[in-house]
Structures are given as C-alpha cells and as structure tokens.
Point group: D2
C-alpha cells in the first residue's frame, strides 16, 4: 500500500503514521519527494487491509497496490486450471457448453430441451429448479421436484447437470442432484453460501455479480477456494450500465482480463448478458474469439411458451446454428468441443 501525505504534512505527521504502521506489524519505506512524502507499506496483506490510513494525520490518500486474493491468481498457479466434472473437462483446450431452459417447467419440456442441446453438441444441461426473481409474485421454480427432473434427464441423455443453489441451507440437497453448483449473480457476495459450497467436492460455477468489479469477482472465487474447493469456473453474464437497449452489458473484456489475472476457466452467458435472443449468436461467437472456455446458453423447445426468460431463449434451430458457428471459431482458437 502507498500512503500519499499532504504537501503540508509535518514531520510529526509522518512519524505518527510510521509508528502506527510499525505497531501493526508492518514495514515502512519512506520517499521524500519535492512537494510531499510518500510512504510505502510492506508486509502481510491481511494486516495492510486493516489499516485505517485515511484517518491518520496528514494523509491525503492511500492506494492499494496488490490484490487481496491469492489462490485464484496466476502468480499462485501459472498454467490454466482444467476442471474435471465427472469426466468432462473445462479449461485449457477444453470448451464446455452448457445449455437448456431458464427454468425447469416439466419433465417433457426438460427432456425435449436436453435432447436438442445434446444433439447439437452441448455437454451440460442447465435448468433452474430454484429461481431468484425480482418480484415475489413471479414463478419461483419447481424446487426439489425440479432437481429430480434434472437427474432424470441426466440419466436419459448422459448430459451433466448445472443448476443454481440459492441458499446455504439447500447446498446439501442440490449437491445430491447436480454435477455443478451454480452461484447466481445476485448471490456472488453471499459469503456464507460461498463458504458452504467451498466445503463440498462439487464444481462451482460462479457468476459475476451485476455490479461486481473483476477484483471482487475473483475475491468471491477466493472465498470458495479458501475453504478447500479448487474446482471453480467463472461465468461472465453481463454487468449493469446506463445502456437500456440490452438487459445488461456483456463485458467480454473481463474474459481477457481474467485470463491474465487468474488460472481459472471462464465461460460466458450471452443469454442473460444481452437479454435478447437475436444477440445471443453474435455474442457467443465473440466470447469464444475473446478466449472464453465455454458458454452457457438458454435454449427452449418453444420460447413463446417459456415460464421465464422466453425473450432471451434460443429455439432449437438457432442453437444448432450457434454450435456450428462456434465450431469454426474454436478451431481457430485451438480449442476443442468434446
């Protein structure tokens, strides 16, 4: 951390600040500039994070120079992490495609969707059994019944299951049915939930919060990993900005950024990221070209009758087109769909 003193800070101010830092078990490096003193603070990140620097006398501001996460960082692990989900790989050269309806509505709907996405080449079936909704009056999901349907669809198609867990109390239940536990955007900083899934042996798909910085997102992954579960897959799904034409602003730059900062795989959800089915195919292509390790796509046998998010769901035909397009680009990127 760098502490920038005011131009008028006295020698005594500098001494008090220095003393506080040393008392906290940290080291100090002083730089006496032309017009002001700059104090470098060196030592344990956790101790540094606790310093209330801006209330020390004579301080103008303090600037953090290092991130507080460790296990997720490229410094901790140089090579790409490859996550093995019961035999299917994501990361490195392995693209993972997750597709299916927003919500599980019925066995028929789910099976039809599952067969469609499998035929087109997806390895994972997505489908919400617990649905966090803005309004208490909207459809909230079939809950445990939905989980059972997902398990049945897995049995019939061989697809792996990814589904959302919304509360630490239901982690056990969902873990009995899912191959990947999804943490939704609204729960990205539900720290109890992060710790709870961190104590399971399930892969965790961690969606970026609507207004989470890349740093906060990686810190959320650190919560999971710090409990011992290293099987974390990140998922960019759009951030909230001033633009209203799209539901969210899909931040593909975050994919490139995460690839630099972390070894974890990162996939992209262009369905939520745009909210408009017409934009899903171009954004899916762009995601793979940007270096994403996979996609999460909403596909519904009949979007016009979906109970949730029909406006952003692809028809089976459009999902096939998408998979064909992705094929060409992933080859150029040296990735494989398997």
């Amino acid at each position: 951390m760098i502490i920038v003193m005011r131009p008028k800070a006295t020698q005594q101010d500098v001494e008090i600040v220095t003393k506080k830092i040393v008392e906290a078990g940290l080291q100090v490096h002083l730089s006496q500039g032309e017009s002001r003193t700059i104090i470098g603070v060196i030592g344990d990140k956790k101790l540094i994070a606790k310093l209330p620097t801006d209330v020390f006398p004579g301080v103008e501001k303090s600037v953090s120079v290092t991130e507080s996460y460790k296990l997720v960082s490229r410094e901790f692990k140089q090579e790409d992490s490859i996550i093995d989900i019961n035999g299917t790989l994501i990361g490195g050269k392995h693209l993972g495609i997750m597709a299916g309806p927003c919500a599980v509505e019925s066995m028929e709907q789910l099976l039809e969707a599952a067969q469609v996405v499998k035929a087109a080449g997806a390895q994972f079936l997505r489908g919400g059994a617990y649905k966090p909704r803005t309004s208490p009056y909207a459809f909230q999901g079939l809950e445990e019944k939905g989980l059972e349907m997902l398990a049945e669809a897995r049995e019939k198609t061989g697809l792996k299951i990814v589904t959302e867990v919304v509360d630490s109390a239901s982690v056990d239940t969902v873990s009995q049915f899912a191959d990947i536990l999804q943490i939704g955007a609204r729960n990205m900083q539900n720290f109890n939930l992060l710790k709870t899934v961190g104590r399971t042996d399930k892969a965790v798909l961690l969606k970026r919060g609507l207004s989470a910085t890349i740093s906060e997102w990686l810190n959320a992954a650190e919560y999971v990993m710090s409990e011992g579960n290293y099987n974390v897959i990140l998922c960019e799904r759009g951030i909230r900005t001033f633009e209203t034409y799209t539901r969210n602003t899909l931040d593909l730059g975050a994919v490139a950024a995460v690839k630099t900062l972390s070894h974890l795989p990162v996939i992209v959800d262009p369905s939520h990221g745009t909210g408009l089915w017409k934009m899903v195919r171009p954004m899916a292509r762009a995601a793979i070209a940007a270096g994403a390790d996979g996609l999460m796509i909403e596909v519904h046998p009949n979007p016009a009758e979906a109970l949730c998010d029909g406006n952003q769901s692809l028809t089976p035909e459009n999902f096939h087109l998408l998979m064909n397009e992705i094929g060409g680009i992933s080859e150029l990127m040296g990735k494989q769909l398997k």
Copy 2:
C-alpha cells in the same frame, strides 16, 4: 403492458399475439396507428409478467407500465407508515438516528461508542457482529459474542439495537438480540433471507443494493411484506457508479423518489454512501433536507484504531457537531428527534 408491433407486422401477426394474450387470461386493447399497431395488455400483473412478448411474431418491443409491487406502494397506503420499534418511532414526523461502530470489536469499544451516541441524541446503537467482507481474509466479526455485547450495551444505555443478519440460518439467533434486523446491501436480493425475516416480528432495515434500481429495492421490500411483516425501513447507502473519488455515489434523489412511490420510511447512511468521514456531515444534512426519516452513521471512539471502515467513521466530536446541525434542519422540515 404495451406491446409495440413493427411497422411491417402483418394482420396475422397481430392476431397471433392477441390470441396468446387472451389464452393467458388477459384482455387486449388494440390501437391501430398510422404506421404501426400498439397492443395494450390489461389484467393480473402476475400473468402479465410471465408473457414472453418479445418472441411473439411481429413484435418490436414491449413496455411495462406498472410496477409489480403492491404492499409497499402509496396506492396501497396513502399515509406515511410509522414503525414502532419497542417504543421508539421512525417515520412521519419521527426521525430515527442510528449510530455506532462499523463492527463490534470489544465491550469497551462498544460501550464507549454507545455512551457517545446516546449523549449526542441517537436512539439506536448500530454495530456489526457478522461482517460481510470482500476478501475472505478480512476481519469477519465477533459473531454471537458480538450480539451478546450489543445486548449488554442496550441494557446499560437504553439504546435500541440494529445489527446485520447475513444468512437465513442465523435469523433466529440475531432476532434474540436485535431490535431491528438489518439486511445489508449485498443481500438485498437474497430472497430466502428476505422471506425469512418477513416471517419474524422484528423491524427490518433494508439497505439498497449497490446497483439496485429503486424499483428492485421496493420489490425487495415487497418480499418481506408479502410474508406478513410490514415493519420495513428502507436505507439508501450509495450506489455504484463510474465515480471513484467517493466509495459510492449517495443517491439522495432516491429518498425523494421513495417518498412519492411508497409509504415506508427511508433513512440514509452517509458513512457508506461516501466512504469519507469528511463528507458525512454535509451529506447527513442534505439527507434530512431531502426528506429522509433518519440517519445511520458510523461513529468510533477512535477511528484510527477501528478494525473496519475507520476511514469513514466519525469521532465523537464530529458526531456531536452533526447532531447539532441536524437539529436545525429537522426543525425546518417539521420533524422531531425523540
């Protein structure tokens, strides 16, 4: 809901859309314009919310014209709600001032803070026992031990206690100690938690999420109220914007907006809203002048040694100054502190 058809939509498109709406149990009003048809959809809000309008043929876009919340709205209840927290009132003419440290650190620190804020005129002691933190390595709170200290401080000072509950699993425990259950910004859309506190008889302080629209915030309050608990106090604490000088952008316009849209009391937290103690007093004054029903302020006997958020905590002296300034403005606003 209004459905705007494309200029080139056919008569058949309009008929299909109309049919879908009627099948969903809703009514239709057609407006045949010069260049396009506009379809008004009338009926039960919940049914309207489920229509996947944008995938109907010939549709350009759909526009929601009414909010999905009911119980929180001014239409539901005209007069201001006044929340009675074990004898202390917030709302209407009654200002509620909540103050204290970010986190409970020790009995001494807490008691000192409690005595300071009581002497200055606050009616509520704030203090976190469970602390949601961006990094898993930061101080996470004293948990149940912290709750016990809060209860002891209440006994010694008579102040009511407001403290955060971070998970539905701990609602029972926190309820045994707190007078007001605080829902933090990161949990504003933790719907299980909202429903759980909605089934208690405790007053709930609902902080606005970092990137929550006013509509989403009021829908979150609707989650609590729809479970039967009408004792909800809203708290504006800053939203996330591009500005980096302040920690967040305090949206005092939201106070005025909520006063129009809802009967619920709304207070302001300028400590988190700005992140800079020097800005707390001006923003506290502005909040009251904007019509807020109270304040939540971080006060620490010794900010330079706080374990959390020292940079935004007021010293006892500054809190006294703040309370004096607030006194004059609240009188002009026809409000009383007591």
Copy 3:
C-alpha cells in the same frame, strides 16, 4: 408515445390531456383499463417529442415507443450501406482496418508506423493531429503540421487517412488532408460539429460517446445525415462503467444491436476500448466475430516512447499477429479484407 394515467385520474383529466394532444396536431387512442386509462399518441414524431406530458393533470408517466432517428434506421434502408472512401470500401462484405499511432509525433515515426500497418494489411492510416486531452498541460498535437505529415504518408504508402476534427472551425482545414473525418467520443454530441461535417462530402467516422446510449449515438449520426452526408461509419470504443481494471468497457453487444437497428457500417476500437495493449488482440478477434465491419487499432513503432497512449499501443509484431488472427475469423464471417 404512450401516456399512462394515474389510477385516480378523473375523466376530466383524461379530457384535458386529450385536448392538449389534439391541439398539438396529433391523434389519440384511448384504452380504458381495469384500474387506469392509457392514452396512445399518434402522429408526427417531431410534434410528439415536444409534448410536456408529465405536467398534464393525472399523468403518471409517458413512454416513448419509437426512436426519433429516421435516415440511419434499417426501416429507412434495408440493405447494408457500403461506404466508398476514394475507392476503398467499408460495409457489407468489406472490412476496413485503420491503424497507426495515437498522435502524429514526427515524419519518421509516422512513416515507420504507416509502412508497418500497410505491410500487415491495413488500408487506412490513423493518427491524431489535434488531440483532445483531459489536462490542458498534456501534449495537444502537432495540428496543421501533423495533417501535412499524414498527407505525405498517404502519398508514400497509398494508405487512406483518417484523423480527428475537434471543432467546426477546423473542418475545412482537416478536409483538405483527410479521407475520413473522425468525430471523437467527447464530441459525439457537439451538434454544430456534426452539422458542419454533414455539409462536407467526406466520409465521417463517428465514435460513440463515453456514456452515450445506442439511441443517442444513432441520433448523432442522424445529425450528420440530416445535412445530406450519408457516408457515416460508426465506431464503438468503450463506454464508462464502474469497472476500473480496463480504461473503458468495450460494448460489443452494441455492434450486434447497431446491425439490427441501422444499415450503417460499425467498426470497433479495442485500443481505447480496453486501454491495455494485452487485451487488444482478443477484443479485436471478438469484434470481428460479433459482426463488426472493421477495426481501428493503435500501432506504434516503439510504444515505450509514444507521446500519447503508449500503454494501449501494439508493437508492429503484435499488430501482425492480430491481422493474421483476424484473417481466419473474417473468412468464417464471410468478409474480406481488401
């Protein structure tokens, strides 16, 4: 436009509003719903735009249902516009690649950059002669001298020139040297400048403003076209969001959106869009995969010595790599570089 009346609006309110609308030369369609009346306003867009609806009695809110731009819209022209810049085409199947230094610094630097980008396949040389800078003390460009160097580089390499014009007073001068007049992000709503370039016969590259919605951006293009100049190329260059890791958030969804809403070509500037040279190649690939009609890339013979934006400039080697990667993706997209 749709006017939503309050539930408690009286019959008289509705009549007053109706009268105001008719007096303004517009037509009215009434929808009497269960709980409220909705008034559709039909007629000339320009007249509708002027209605101060929210101050009419009994009005809850009004919602615009159509965009105010015409000439830029797909409704006005179905097929993609192809812009001919003195023999080089952009739009439709034709990709345009513009590359070069942020600022013209010297004849040597410029020529070296020009030769590098030409060899790699670019058709346009970019380079700023007038540089809008946040601080008055930063390097402001070589001005007319820079323009002369650009013209000389064109003569020596055959590359077309794209350069920024910052003020309506200098449009004439810049037009004497440039093939494409660039309107920078900060000037996207400098309406006098837009009208002035709209009266020239030069192609115009219109960068999206930092916080401009897609609708505002297209309206800015409408300013140029409404003066008679239809040769407009749009350029997405990143929007301002809460994220601070990247300089801006490159909004590739805007590319897909513009392709739906407008017939104009749209290119992408990943150099400004990210601010980090390491992210330029992945974002350039993603842009082409999303359907962009070209790229604008900062290339500097020696980024470490650039007078401006060195941090986001590619070395010649990296630009070559980028062009190779783009080649494969543009082929998949059915586009050609020529």
Copy 4:
C-alpha cells in the same frame, strides 16, 4: 506517480525503468519490498503524465498520486473564491440563484418568467437561446434573436443573464449579451470552447459532464483558468447511472468533494439532475444543506406549454415555495441571498 513492478521483475527491468524515468527529466525513489519493487516517480507533473509506464518491462501497473490540475486546487488558493458578476457575488457567504425557462420561446414568456423569478428572490435569469438537443428534429432555440430577448429582459428587470454558448465560433456573439457564459454538460470536454471562453472576461458556468469524474470536471475548469479567466463557477447537474426513474442521478457528494478539492464556487441544477419537477424542491434543499453556493432552477410560467423540458420545470408557485424553504436552510448554513 507510483510504479508497481511485477513480483518476477528482474533487477534489469528495474534498471531499464529507472533509466527511462531519469531520461525523461524525473527523479526516482526505489522501495524494495518483500515480494516486489515499488518505484516512486517525482518531478514535473507534465513530464510524469507523458510516461508510457505500462509498456516498460516488468511493470505491473502505475498509480497516479496527484491531480494534474493546479489553478483550481485548494492548494493553489486556500480561501473560497468569490466571483463578482457585474456586482452580484457568488461564493463564500453569497448564494446565487439562477432561474428561468429551459429555452427562450418568446418575449412574453421570457418576461413573465423573469418577473416571477425576480419576485421570488433570484438574481439571475437563465434561458437557452442555443439548445443542444439529442435529435436534429427537436427545437434548437431562437439563437441570436433569443439573446436579444434576454438582454431586453435584463434591462427591464435588472436580473443578470446566464445563457449557454455551444461553439467557440459563437462565443463573441453570446458575450455581447450574457453576464455568465454557460458551458453545457455535453461540451464539458469541448476543449476549444473551454479555451475560447478562457480568453474572455466573462464569468463561466461550467456544468459537469454526464459521465465526467470530479477530476475531469476540475481539469476542464483548469482549461478555462489556464487561459487567464479565473471567474469559473462549477455546476453539478446529475450524472448518468443505471437508475432510470430519474433522468440523471444528482451527485450531491460531488458538492462536498469539490469544496474540499477546490476554492471555486459550485452550484446545483436539480431540474436537470432529476428531470422531475416534483423532486426539484427536495433536491434544492438538500443541495444548499450540502454546502452548495447556489442553484439553477427551471421555472416556466406555464410548464404544460413549454417547448422544452416542461416535465422538469417549476410553476411560479412552486418556485416561491422553494425559495422560502431555501431561505431557512441557507441561514443555518451561514449563507445569504442577496
């Protein structure tokens, strides 16, 4: 500036960076930490601003520690600036109230508005003669004819005139009529315009750009001052955020921030800041309580017939109420209206 080296940066990397800095005429302070080296760069701000640090070898990131503006800063001038506009003062203890219609529409409308605002206590008449509008088809103002009407209204009422100048070419013309030259939000970074008004002797009202940081806003003021014109008044008028209920998000925290960072007076425009006339009074009160030096308010004799922004204009009655409320708060703040 602080340069943070990567943990794996070599001794040679550090030497190269050091050499580059010294060659640029700057000084270096090295801090050798446990895991990485931090390099402090000291010297002329202008030279520092030009360093392309992130492309130097081994550099992880660089952090600016000082602002590039000088003349606007509190360090340059400790006491509040008081601007004298032909005998009327703004700044220090002097509140300035500017009110009037969005656009000058006719002599009758303008005179009626002028008399209303004068009677209520305003010292300045606002009114746009040149109107920057999102769509080229919206009303663009009466231009020079509007300026003449403003001058006539001044003669008849004694009010000073504040009106917008949209282009450097019209600065001379507007200066012949106006007492204060207003720079609109969209032109905040129209640097030619800033320099041109900086060479006049007129007071300049500089509105904050829609997505301008506080730092960029102060740098824009520096552009004006660096040309010799120190009579700058800042105006907060709302920033663009994700919230859509209000037209913009009024950032009153910026008022408190500017008061710390700069000696310049800052006023607030709650009409544009909220876009809703019902929110103007609460936000005007809040602005004064936050420490603003004045207000800019849209008042129209008959908002329902305004050619522009009727939805956010106050009626004469509401403006009177506002002025009464402001009176009480400004007294508490030790300010005077005169």
